[in-house]
Amino acid sequence: MSRRYRVADYGTGQIGKLALRQILDRSEFELVGHLVHTKSKIGPDTEIVGRPATGVKAVGDFDEFCGFDADCVVYLATDFGRLSDEVTDTLRFAQ
C-alpha cells in the first residue's frame, strides 16, 4: 500500500473548503486537524464542508493547530490584509 499523508488544513473559505473536501475524499490523505477563523465554524466537525463527520473538530486556536502531528499543512487562509500574519504562521510551521 502506498504511503498515507497526515494533513492539517488551514482555512475553509472559498478555496479552502474545496481543498478540504478533496483531502477527505482521497484515500492517501488523513486529516489530522483543521483550523478556521470564522467563529461560527469552530467546534463542528467536517460537516461544515459537506462531508461526513470524521471526528476531527475545527479549532480556532493557532497554538492548538500547531500541536497536531501532521506531515503537511495545507495553508489556504487568505493573505488579504494579513500578510505579516501569513509570514509569521509559515515560519511557525517551519520550526
Partner: protein, 279 residues
C-alpha cells in the same frame, strides 16, 4: 520610486468623435520584443443594450519599486485595495518570474502599472444603477523588462460588465465570465484562451476556484517528499524542487514525482484526477 503618468483607457467612441491623442499608451499594442503575455480577465456580468460610451480617460501609473507609497492624487482619488495593499505584486510577480525562468530570461526590473476606468454614462447592471463617473473596472500589469521592452507580463482585467470595455484593452476571443488568455507575440504569433466554465452546473462557482484548490492538494505528496528548506527554482534544471515545479504549477495530478536516490518513485498511487464533484 518613479510615478510617471499617462492617459489610458479609451472607450469605444462614435465615428464623429475626435481621434485619440497620438501619444496615448496602448496596452494592447503588439510589441515585437514582447514574447509572452498572459491575460486573466474575469467579467462579472453581461448587459445587453447598455449605453454606448463616448469617452473615458483613465490614468496609468508606472511604479518601479514595491508600491508601498502610492500617490494619493490620482485623478479619481481611489486606489483599489488589492493594489494599495501590495497584494498584486506579492501574488503575481512569482508568475512573471516563473515564466521568465523557463524561457531563460533575466529581468532588469518588473514594472507595475494599473488603471481604473469609470463609466461615462449611467450603467444598469443586474443590481442597482452605477452612476456615470463610477469606477467600473480595473486593470493592472506586471511586466518583466529587459531595457524598455516588456518581455514577460501578466495582465489582469476585472470589470463589472463587458460593455464598458476600453478599446485599448484586449478583447477576449469568446464571451465568458472568466478566462485566461495566453499570448505569445512574435514568430509564431499565438493566442490561446482558456475559459473557466461554471463548475458542476453552478453558475456562481467559477471553475478557476477548484483549480486553485486542486493545485494545493496535489502538491501535498511532493511537499512531504521534498528535502527541507525553501524551494523556489524551476524543476527544468533541478527536478528536486517540487513546490514550484512544473508538475504542480501545471496542475497535473499524478504527474512525475521528484527523483530521489536516482529512482523515479511516485509518492502518488497512480493517476489521480479531481474526480468527485463538489457538493
Amino acid at each position: 520610486m518613479s510615478c510617471g503618468r499617462q492617459n489610458e483607457g479609451r472607450f469605444r467612441r462614435p465615428a464623429c468623435a475626435a481621434a485619440p491623442p497620438s501619444n496615448r499608451r496602448s496596452i494592447g499594442e503588439p510589441s515585437q520584443r514582447r514574447r509572452t503575455v498572459a491575460v486573466k480577465r474575469p467579467v462579472a456580468a453581461r448587459k445587453r443594450g447598455a449605453p454606448v460610451f463616448q469617452r473615458v480617460t483613465g490614468v496609468i501609473v508606472r511604479i518601479r519599486m514595491h508600491p508601498v507609497n502610492l500617490p494619493s492624487d490620482r485623478d479619481n482619488g481611489h486606489v483599489p485595495l488589492r493594489i494599495a495593499s501590495c497584494k498584486v505584486r506579492h501574488d503575481w510577480e512569482t508568475a512573471v518570474r516563473y515564466v521568465a525562468e523557463i524561457l531563460g530570461l533575466t529581468f532588469e526590473t518588473v514594472d507595475f502599472d494599473w488603471n481604473t476606468p469609470a463609466v461615462p454614462a449611467d450603467l444598469r447592471p443586474n443590481v442597482g444603477v452605477m452612476k456615470a463617473g463610477t469606477i467600473c473596472a480595473h486593470r493592472w500589469r506586471l511586466a518583466g523588462k529587459v531595457g524598455d521592452a516588456a518581455v514577460v507580463s501578466v495582465q489582469y482585467f476585472a470589470a463589472l460588465s463587458s460593455t464598458p470595455w476600453p478599446d485599448v484593452w484586449p478583447r477576449p476571443v469568446a464571451e465568458v465570465a472568466s478566462a485566461v488568455v495566453y499570448r505569445v507575440a512574435g514568430r509564431p504569433n499565438l493566442r490561446m484562451q482558456l475559459c473557466f466554465d461554471p463548475q458542476d452546473g453552478k453558475a456562481n462557482l467559477n471553475s478557476a476556484i477548484p483549480l486553485a484548490a486542486m493545485a494545493a492538494v496535489n502538491a501535498i505528496p511532493f511537499v512531504v517528499e521534498a528535502d527541507p528548506g525553501l524551494h523556489r527554482r524551476s524543476p527544468i534544471a533541478d527536478r528536486r524542487s517540487p513546490v514550484a515545479g512544473r508538475s504542480v504549477v501545471t496542475r497535473r495530478a499524478g504527474s512525475s514525482p521528484p527523483e530521489r536516490d536516482g529512482r523515479n518513485e511516485s509518492p502518488i498511487s497512480g493517476s489521480r484526477l479531481w474526480d468527485r464533484p463538489d457538493r
